[in-house]
Symmetry: C2
Subunit: 333 residues, 2 copies
């Protein structure tokens, strides 16, 4: 199937009317498949850049099983290399952060004068390298969602799904509700995706870490699901201590938020269907763990701000050991 | 085989000449088997109180494989219940601390006027409950030893073996080199066991925790041997951080020691033949982990002294989760 390229990007660098006209979803896993599939199903002009599953996606489309309604999106524009696609208004980066350097270096053909990148990835330190590599505005989206690729082209969305979108500004300062944020929020809303703008992307990223730091790491180290971690009093206390450590570190880094958010995350997870966090799935599949974005960056930022994340650092070191052992690599940290 | 009972204990409560004349070793595992076997092989009057393996030990004796020299100690006095034995000058408690309440409650028949208990166990909070239950002086011995029961009556002593012996005094204050400590040290020396007196048992116990807290716990949580934990830079850094946390907590609790001891433990472990700590063996065998003595007691003591052991507490909570899951028990902490 020929992909829908755009050979003549000619928008001014100011946000053009109707922006974003076209999207390229990079990575068709639990996140890219779900949100890209919903955008495509809503009629948006969406292309997919996949590493694996290209032929399968072209032939069979994308099947979404979701509490938002099941969908089978056919006739997808799917490419295996960015050169097969032209520039796109929004490049949605939905791959693992562990691949960012390699993936971002290949995205040049997708960049036109009105392009922005929306990184649907967890952790800190995501945007600056992308902005530097591609010279475009970079936004971040935090997805509080339980969703995974069950098979090629089959995305099982189990629960939740809210996306919080903010724009990166140099130094991590709050960019406010920019026109790009508003346009992306509107497009997501039009596709039936729950979404809200984040005046400060850095605050949104730290808040997301409140969930990811305890559950991602402990699910790997203890080979346990969220329900087991919540039910045992020892791990529940450890989860809460890790959450409060993230909260305190965020405040020390100048990106603080209300402490009741920790209670809300605990309650949300209590109410959640038992879930295997993506890091646990990565570990079981022998894939690299997203340790730099989710652990190293916050630990180093907090230490630099004079508020060390002692428990988080200990968990990170356990994960680094397991990650290296599982993949047979040798470490230097 | 009839056991050598002593039906007429008549020593004064002052330490009688020739003390200790007889020993009862409670627990014939890696510690009790090694040290009891060495004492018996040296000609000391040693009885064994075993839970399992009683018939095997009576029939086949105790086989020691050790860098100190292999030995096969036959014609052992072995009982399955304390009532089969009379009072003993030294009751060597070499069972798991998890069994202390149950085991100590059964030791009444072993107590005479000159009896003391020597607990060859790791952790804090060991002596006071024993002293209260039996009304006898209680000593503690810290064994820096790699030794395990490989099969009934077969003790494989891999490396090290130094025992540090001190006497408990109310409130954990230093009892100094008491006559009982000196007599036990002399008896161990006569049996070829490397031994040294500890003027402060509490300091000796905290120093032993410098090794046990990191290696016992991490070997279980990460399913790793000491060599793997030492070789990976992430776990090595975590081991050292845990060790320094123990050092700092000991100081806060008034039982401080020189910080170079941490470097010595790291170097000793580097030089050690790869070893599966006893807690890892317990976990693999589905036995209860010694969490109260090795984790709960120091964590609570440090918190009470205003110096929380944050990493140690996190590791304890992980272990409590794993311990309960492995044994199918429900927790309240």
């Amino acid at each position: 199937m020929p992909v829908d390229t755009d050979p003549s990007p000619s928008e001014p660098t100011d946000l053009p009317a109707g922006w974003p006209r076209h999207w390229t979803i990079v990575g068709v896993g639990g996140v890219g498949g779900l949100y890209g599939g919903r955008l495509a199903a809503s009629g948006a002009d969406v292309r997919f850049l996949a590493r694996s599953d290209v032929d399968h996606l072209r032939r069979h489309g994308l099947e979404l099983r979701s509490p938002w309604g099941d969908a089978h999106v056919r006739d997808l524009a799917v490419a295996g290399a960015a050169a097969e696609l032209g520039p796109s208004d929004v490049i949605v980066l939905a791959t693992k952060t562990t691949d960012n350097a390699r993936v971002v270096a290949q995205l040049g053909p997708l960049v036109g004068p009105s392009t922005a990148v929306l990184a649907l990835q967890n952790g800190l330190g995501i945007e600056a390298p992308i902005a530097e590599a591609l010279g475009v505005p970079v936004l971040g989206g935090l997805c509080f969602v339980c969703s995974a690729k069950e098979a090629p082209g089959v995305i099982v969305h189990q629960d939740y799904g809210l996306v919080t979108v903010g724009e990166h500004a140099a130094g991590g300062v709050a960019a406010g509700a920019t026109a790009r944020v508003a346009a992306i929020v509107a497009a997501f809303e039009a596709a039936g995706i729950p979404v809200r703008p984040a005046p400060s992307l850095a605050v949104a990223r730290w808040k997301k870490l409140v969930w990811n730091v305890p559950y991602n790491g402990l699910s790997v180290v203890l080979d346990a699901g969220t329900d087991e971690l919540q039910a045992d009093p020892a791990t529940r206390a450890l989860v809460e201590a890790l959450m409060r450590e993230v909260h305190d570190a965020a405040a020390a880094c100048g990106h603080g938020f209300d402490a009741t958010f920790v209670d809300q995350m605990l309650a949300d997870t209590d109410a959640m269907t038992p879930y295997a966090p993506s890091m646990q799935l990565d570990y079981r599949a022998g894939r690299a763990l997203e340790l730099d974005a989710i652990y190293r960056a916050p630990v180093e930022a907090a230490a630099a701000a004079g508020r060390p994340m002692v428990r988080t650092e200990a968990l990170w070191r356990q994960l680094a050991f397991l990650d290296r052992r599982a993949r047979g690599t040798r470490g230097t940290r």
